[in-house]
Symmetry: C2
Subunit: 465 residues, 2 copies
Amino acid sequence: MNQKPSIPKGTRDFGPLPMMRRNYIFNTIRSVFQLYGYLPIETPAMENLDTLMGKYGDEGDKLVFKILNSGDFASGIGEEQLQKLVEHPESSPLISRVLASRISEKALRYDLTVPFARFVTQHRDEIVFPFKRFQIQPVWRADRPQKGRYREFYQCDVDVIGSDSLLNEAELFKIIDEVFCKLGLRVIIKINNRKILAGLAEASGLAANVTDFTVTLDKLDKIGIDQVKKEWVSRGISDESIEKLTPIISKAGSNNEKITGLKDFLHASAIGLKGIQELETLFNLIQKFKLTAPVELDLTLARGLNYYTGAIIEVKSLDIQIGSICGGGRYDDLTGIFGMPGVSGVGISFGADRVYDVLDQINAFPAFAQTGTQVLFLNFGLDEVAVCQPLADSIRANGVRCELYPDPVKIKKQLQYADQNHIPVVVMIGETERNISKALVKIMSTGEQKNVDFSELATEILKII
Amino acid sequence: MNQKPSIPKGTRDFGPLPMMRRNYIFNTIRSVFQLYGYLPIETPAMENLDTLMGKYGDEGDKLVFKILNSGDFASGIGEEQLQKLVEHPESSPLISRVLASRISEKALRYDLTVPFARFVTQHRDEIVFPFKRFQIQPVWRADRPQKGRYREFYQCDVDVIGSDSLLNEAELFKIIDEVFCKLGLRVIIKINNRKILAGLAEASGLAANVTDFTVTLDKLDKIGIDQVKKEWVSRGISDESIEKLTPIISKAGSNNEKITGLKDFLHASAIGLKGIQELETLFNLIQKFKLTAPVELDLTLARGLNYYTGAIIEVKSLDIQIGSICGGGRYDDLTGIFGMPGVSGVGISFGADRVYDVLDQINAFPAFAQTGTQVLFLNFGLDEVAVCQPLADSIRANGVRCELYPDPVKIKKQLQYADQNHIPVVVMIGETERNISKALVKIMSTGEQKNVDFSELATEILKII
């Protein structure tokens, strides 16, 4: 094999620099989750096929990576299917679907939500409710790879399940605010409520079809208000309703103005009024937090996910134009699909890849998130190594990442290694330095050099770093 | 679906407690790796099938989890194969093997070594050598699940590649010692050298078949010296050689005594003498480190992996009887399989699951590795919540994990939640406390309670925690 090996399309290798930067993002998110009392869980990469199938719609089902049964999987293929395939090779797409269930019983998780619902149902007797958990793990989707869309990517989910208090929603706003503050990113948090959407549909005479109503509304940004109106008319919404809806869904106006408009339009919709009440309570709670990020009521926000039943949340970057970098909402029946009804929860998910792209584009990764080794001892031969080793240990004892070049090669090559690895400080102890018990310390960024007593080296390094 | 959902056999869910304990192990290992200048990388869970196949032997190949091509995979099955399967259903095992390559192009990684070799070869132009990397990721094997053996488990690999200095081996000993010291585990580090094994085979007249020689030797613990001798005799080793070999391979005797015996037995074996020289250099280097763990030359150590060419390392627990908890060695041609010859490296891998089992059995997980939330504010209603929130924030500002119970339910239930989640401190601010600006702080382990001024709460909590 002489051609360079490669990796499957849509997947990525992460070398040291992107890894350190990604860990900085994950660590920031994780530390905030933990500060608010969320606990870590992990589920297996593989789930039983029947846990995942039918949960993501027909399109989603196709994008689930299935794992071939190990051993003699072909014995599971029935003769009848085979005969059909032999006789009608053109029917292979259909047969692929039928075969898949016979030669595959496991699949890679597609998101963290369904495995979490499965986890809660399966371990309901051990779990203490309300259950505050977070989960940071990769998911896999057989999507067509394109810029910014991968077949393996991490999700960072945080949820409270078993409590319908709106304090949970408020806390998630605070977590969002704290995460992005810590990362140095400017964001806007958009909020909506599924009950308000249901109310709007109801008050517009489309109660039976909230989905149609919201699908149209969701497209406002793309197709513009005129096209939205046209679609609504075609769905049978009256001119009068449309006239009242227009100012409400417009992006202009303060949250209070929007709420006033909603109260008027939804005065006869019980579910709509419930939604407004939730929204007002939430705004009141949030107000006390004095968030850094602005919070905007965006009545076009639907996030396409039908399992939301209350708050819908989405975070957009104010630094650059990019899709949402965090989102989530309230769901009242997540575990219902596994036979455990009536457990309400609320959660959000951070898009680590997009957060990475924003930080990268505005150059906001801090230096410490891009530094591996902090101190390199050059190698002048075994006698000097013997002197360097305890000194390196004393530096490490302070938590400073420190290495010794393994081979006594040319100093130029060793300095080049420090340079290429962006190691900020180099310590040189040659024969001369060894004899006077002083190390020559070089700051790579400035080229500055100074002699430091062995006994003061660890302290001095701490000052420089 | 009313039966409880489950997960594939051999896989595991990790709830909060095992997750915190596992993270304690991973964080300890990771922090030591980083202190010594090793840098993180990650590779995709999926590799191309041809990257993995043929690297783990026939048995290994069978244990690789293959991923079904997405979309219409059946179109890749040739008519000829299908016809055969229809006519000879009994040939399905053979056909499974042939089919697999047509309906699957990707597989889950089986270890971190082959993906690392692939990574180095693929990115050779970007990598700065010597390349010190670590990788902590799960691997998947279609092994028959049994106690302590899982189909998904983490490996923690650390390697230096592109340097043949024995300083690297010495450093790995230091890393092993530091990791297990930090974890509070007593271990013995066993060492051998592939060149010495080759020399022993050569001096015994089995130069052409080092593997046969070592396979027998490797079984010493299991089958005993007499049986080993019998096998050797049957392979044609002379009585004289066996007599000389016996004391050398015996577990008794100091390292120096063993080396003296080796020097005598291997005086005519160039490769054997090279191995002794490497061993002596390494012992000299290690001696300077004053390791806590004893280092024992164990000439029966082979670790079954044919790609080792120099040092072979294995770590055993002295606390409980369990398989090796860390192991590795020097390999001179890891990337050769991908067409990049002559790159020497050395590395070790920590077995996190076994380390977990040892810590668990001797009860050595520290309290901080088993504590999630540290402080719980009880919820007495919205007015009190408004007071609690800024106080909770001031506690979090000190890095203390703190949560507020989301619902104003019965205090008994809230205290039970603290108890079940092992939250050590509970803060109560009811109407009375709110009026006098003092919180009632309860230490859960002792039941002790005291009143603390709001202004001093954060500081007081820090003292307690």
